[in-house]
Every structure is written in C-alpha cells, then in structure tokens.
Amino acid sequence: MTADGAALPRRSASRQRLGGLGSALGSTAAFVAVVLLLAVAWEAAKWIAGDPWREALGMPINPPHFPPFHIKQFSDLNLPHVWDVVGAFSRPSVRNSPFTLGAVLIDAAVFTGRSAVLGFAVGAVVGLGLAIVFVRSKLLERALVPYVIATQTVPIVALAPMLVLWVGREWTSVVLVSAYLTFFPVTIAGIRGLSSPDPRSLELMRSYAASDWSVLWKVRFPAALPYLFTAFKISATASVVGAIVGEEPTGIRGGLGRAILQFNTQYSSGPEKLWAVVMVSAALGIVFFVIVRLTEMVVLRNRTLPTDL
C-alpha cells in the first residue's frame, strides 16, 4: 500500500454506529427523566395550590391536606391527580362497559394509527412527487409553490366535512386529511434536498452522458434523503394530528378523534378520561416519530451528518 499522508482511515463505521445508539439511549433516558420530573411538578402544584387532598394513590390521608393557595387550573377537575389518570386506564371506559378504558383507547389508537400510516404514505409520495416536478421545472415551481404554501394556511378542519360530502367515504376522507398535513414539509424539504448536490457531481454525471432519470435516482435522491428524513419526522406527527382531526367532523367511530369528543362532553363526570386520551394521542404521535427516527438511523447509517434527535 503506498503511503500518502494519513494512510489510516479516520473513523470506523461501526464505532460511529455505536455512538449513535448511545446517544439515542441517552435521549430516551433524558425524556423519561423529564416526564418523571413533570409528574412530580404536577403533584407539587396541586399540593401547593390545588383542591384539598383527602386521599392519595388509593390510601386516605388523615387529616386531609389543605393547600395554602388555590389556583383554579390546579383543581381536581382541571388537573386530576396523576394516579387517577393512570388508574383510569384499568377502569371501565363507560359505566357498565365490559371493556377497560385502556383497552378501548388502544383499539382507538390502532384504528387512528392505520389511517395515519396511510395518510403519511400518500402525503409522502405526493410531497416527493411535487418536489421532483418542481426541481425539474423552474417554471412550474414559480407558478405553483405559492399555492402549495397557501394550502397550509387553510384550516383543514374546516374542509373535512365538505371532503366527506365530495368523497363520500368516511375513512378515505380521514386519510386525505392526514395526507394533507403530511405532504407540505416533504415537498419543501424535497425541493431543498433534491437541489442540494454539489454542482460538480452534476457535471460529473453529464460527463458520463447520464440520463435525467439516472441523475435523479443516483445523485439527487440520495442527496435528498437527510432532508427528507427531517421532514418525515415532522410529517409523522402531522399525519397523526391529521387523522385525529379528520375523524372528528366525519363522525367516524372507533378512533381517537371520536374518543376525544366523547370524553370532552363527559368532562365533568370524569376529567381523567380526557387526560388519558390526551396521553394516548401523545403516545401515538411519539411512536410514529420514533419509528421514523429508527428508520432514519438505519437508512442514513453511513453518512456523517449528525442530528440532535
């Protein structure tokens, strides 16, 4: 082997992969820590300024604790105790129902999740397609990008009922709403990413008399992947939001949207149930995010660019 300057490779790929895994574990631990801290702060706020504490974790407190201050938002109605919310999962969802809230919510989450996955897929494909068209044709970009941006200022919540009327099928409308919220970040990131390759790479391809399709597939698309994944992380959660938002006006049963509406109307009789739905919705969004992040770690494992989550 001829020596020329530094002959040894700088970093082994496996060492870098381990580093990435380590930071992911660190982030998860930090996340859990913050959640625990929040739970402590939650109860502390109630201790100081909530409703009187007569029992905690199922055990009575004698004599009851009367907090020195009173802030309306920390009352038992508005901020139920953490253990009440957690406990609600194992209690029946409605009186006389054979199903626990936990079971019902998990079913609802799967139901909504299915729409969200499809919405994400459709949105990602449409977004990427638009990006490819816009990179190909500057004219089309100038003509259409303002409207693409404008679509995001239209509250999709408002269009949803009309969508059901036009499309006719409820589930399709939900997927469309989900896709509507998903495609935009993908389009913008796609345009950036597809135009990101070094002009010299493009010249190189020209010197090979490579076809436009070749250039797209071999140069532009791989260069765009990091940008696309940043967008996918945003779109992952947007697709869940879209699915939930889409479910409500269409009145579709079985999903988280319906559950939110239902427990919102029943708030005074069981505030912890709404909070439980909030947590499940949050969890669904986070699950999608984590899946995309894991996929990113695999697909982009050989690149040098780091990300902070």
């Binding site: 004219l139 990008v145 409207y147 239209v154 009309m162 938002v245 989550l309």
Partner: protein
C-alpha cells in the same frame, strides 16, 4: 428578472384556476351547495362582510396573542437551555417529542381550563403550538455558532455576554425566523382548531363549522378564504421583518418557503 415577471406564472395559474372553476360548475351543473363557484363565494364574502370581519378579528387576536405568549416562553426557555449543556441534553428530546403531541388532544383541556368562551383558552392552545418550534429552533440556532468564530472571540477575551450578543444571537437569527414562519401559520390554524371545540360564536372556526353544518358552503368558503388570507398576511409580515433584519441572509433564501 423583474418582480413582475417572476410572479407572472403564479398569477396566471390563479386566473386559470378561478376561471376554470367557474366554468366547470356552470357546465357540469354541479350543485351549488356541493361546490360553490367563485362568484358565489365572492358574493357571500361581500354580503356577510360584517360578520366575517368581526369573526376574523376575534380569531386574529387569539392567534397573535397566543403567538406572542408562545414566542416569549419559547425564547426564555431556549436561552436558559442553550446555556447549560446538561439542560439541553435533557430538554431537547422532550421538546421534540412533545412537539409530536397532536394539538387536538389538548385543545379541549385548554378550553376547560380557561373557559370555552374566553379567547384566552384559544391563545393558550396557540401558545403551546408556537412554543415548541420556537424553543427547538432557537436552541439549535444559539448552539450553531461556528467554533472558529468562538475561538476568535475567546482570543479577544470577550465576556460570555458579549459572545452571546455578538456571535450567538446573529447566528441564531435564521433559525429564529424559521421558527417564526412556522409559528405564524400554526397560530391561525391553532386558533381555528381551538374554536372548533367550542368558543364564542363570532370566531372564524365556529363560523366555518356552523355554516358547513347548515350546508351554507359559500359562506364557509368565504370564512376559509379569510382564514387563509390572514395566515398568509401574517407569514408575509414575518418575511418582511426578516428581510429588514437580515438583508444579507434573506437574499440567500430564494429556495426557502
């Protein structure tokens, strides 16, 4: 290329779409209540202007109010976090995950906390929506300073405060404006989604929902157009502020949304 020529294709598309829409509805005899033609929508816009503008004002106030609350909170937390690497390592993952929580999940809770009829509840919803992008982006921005520049400042024995003022803040500006742009559009949408769950009647979200329920789609569309216009106006306002603050950078942003 002159400004005019640059925007010509977009304008052409607009004209074509409106004309095509109008023609299609007429030619295919589409039910007016299903898809109102532009002329019908404009008529509603004009006729119902008092209601629409009042509603628009309410929603705008909610959106802008929430925007500033979220902005302030985001900035405070970002500056506090950026300073301490430990806080950063802990809070960033949480913030990014929290950003993943669907707004629709906590909108009803905010309504319950701050009163359904009060604009404050919608402002709080908006502020939560705006808080996270601001915090995440400003932290990224503050920590994005080129290490070579920081070394230079240290060689001048510059104080930490001076470094923040002269290096970190200018470096953070592009990220800050990205966050503002995201926040601007989110704030309108957040206000409307919040209203969807209940609120005073003279707000755009409620107008849209109620008119759609009664199949008065042309009024609903008119309200939607106003909502979109407000969002675009807010966004353009941010861009104007950005161009004024960072003329050197804005010119590079030809490709940015």
């Amino acid at each position: 290329m002159t400004r005019l020529r640059y925007y010509l294709p977009a304008v052409a598309v607009f004209v074509l779409v409106i004309a095509g829409w109008e023609l299609l509805v007429a030619l295919l005899h589409i039910e007016r209540f299903l898809l109102p033609p532009p002329s019908e929508i404009v008529r509603s816009l004009v006729e119902e202007w008092p209601t629409l503008s009042a509603a628009g004002t309410t929603t705008l106030i909610e959106a802008v109010g929430g925007f500033f609350i979220g902005l302030a909170a985001g900035l405070v937390v970002a500056f506090a976090t950026a300073r301490f690497a430990v806080a950063r390592a802990g809070l960033m993952p949480f913030a990014i995950a929290a950003n993943a929580v669907p707004i629709v999940a906590f909108a009803p809770i905010m309504n319950n906390w701050f009163g359904v009829a009060s604009p404050l509840s919608k402002m709080m919803i908006v502020s939560v929506l705006v808080f996270f992008p601001v915090m995440i982006n400003v932290v990224r921005g503050l920590t994005s300073a080129d290490p070579a520049t920081l070394e230079l400042m240290r060689s001048y024995a510059a104080s930490e405060q001076e470094i923040v003022r002269k290096v970190r803040i200018p470096a953070a500006l592009p990220y800050f404006f990205t966050a503002l742009k995201v926040g601007a559009t989110l704030s309108l949408i957040g206000a409307i989604v919040g209203e969807y769950f209940g609120g005073a009647n003279d707000a755009l979200g409620r107008l849209i929902v109620e008119n759609a329920a009664f199949l008065h789609f042309s009024t609903a569309w008119a309200a939607i157009i106003i909502a979109a216009a407000l969002g675009i106006a807010f966004y353009l306002l941010i861009i104007t502020v950005e161009r004024a603050t960072m003329p050197w950078h804005a010119s590079m942003r030809a490709r940015d949304a």
